[in-house]
């Protein structure tokens, strides 16, 4: 258990509406990530953060923005949701050690209709 909570767990929204997914972690990890998971693609990195107000783009960042105003919270926003953003979104943190192990939350299922 990596102490990661995602909300909402399930959401249906209409095309063109803004959506914010929240990731909350309780272990004070510095690194946080947002991935999306689609059939045939595996996990693809959307955005990541190395600390408060320190974020960067991943390989599929178009249409997404993030914010990290507190260590424990990492928000993912879809400014204007599209059907191509229907996916499962996973938040993750990294436990630093002899290997940088990445741990995932339980996922947020988003459907854009």
């Amino acid at each position: 258990d990596a102490g990661i909570t995602q909300s909402p767990r399930h959401k249906v929204t209409e095309t063109g509406t803004p959506v914010t997914l929240r990731c909350h972690q309780t272990e004070n990890h510095r690194y946080m990530y947002w991935y999306r998971q689609d059939p045939g693609h595996g996990l693809r990195l959307i955005h990541y953060s190395y600390g408060v107000k320190d974020t960067d783009k991943g390989e599929v960042s178009d249409g997404y923005s993030v914010s990290r105003s507190k260590t424990e919270d990492f928000l993912l926003t879809l400014e204007s949701a599209t059907s191509s953003q229907t996916s499962v979104y996973f938040c993750a943190t990294v436990r630093l050690g002899s290997g940088n192990t990445i741990y995932f939350g339980e996922g947020s299922w988003l459907t854009v209709v």
């Binding site: 990195l45 290997g99 192990t101 990445i102 339980e106």
Partner: protein, 111 residues
Amino acid sequence: GESVGLHLPTLSVQEGDNSIINCAYSNSASDYFIWYKQESGKGPQFIIDIRSNMDKRQGQRVTVLLNKTVKHLSLQIAATQPGDSAVYFCAENSMGNQFYFGTGTSLTVIP
């Protein structure tokens, strides 16, 4: 960029048999590898990891083998149980905190 893939997208095994799931990676600079299990409707769960200075690592009923010569790793599950049915995928870590993931192999255990 790096690619992490799996040789077999699906695998069916009889309960009690051993399972072997394979993974290929392309970045010879990767120095840390992780296997995950993902059950339907859940997030990926860490199973076992291995660093590049090792060839083999054992856990409870699981063993990971790393062959750096051919850039291949495998996950062996001993005495496979119905609860092992899930998607398994590997991840590689290089360049600090960047991770790359395979698409996964779906393991089905036949009672």
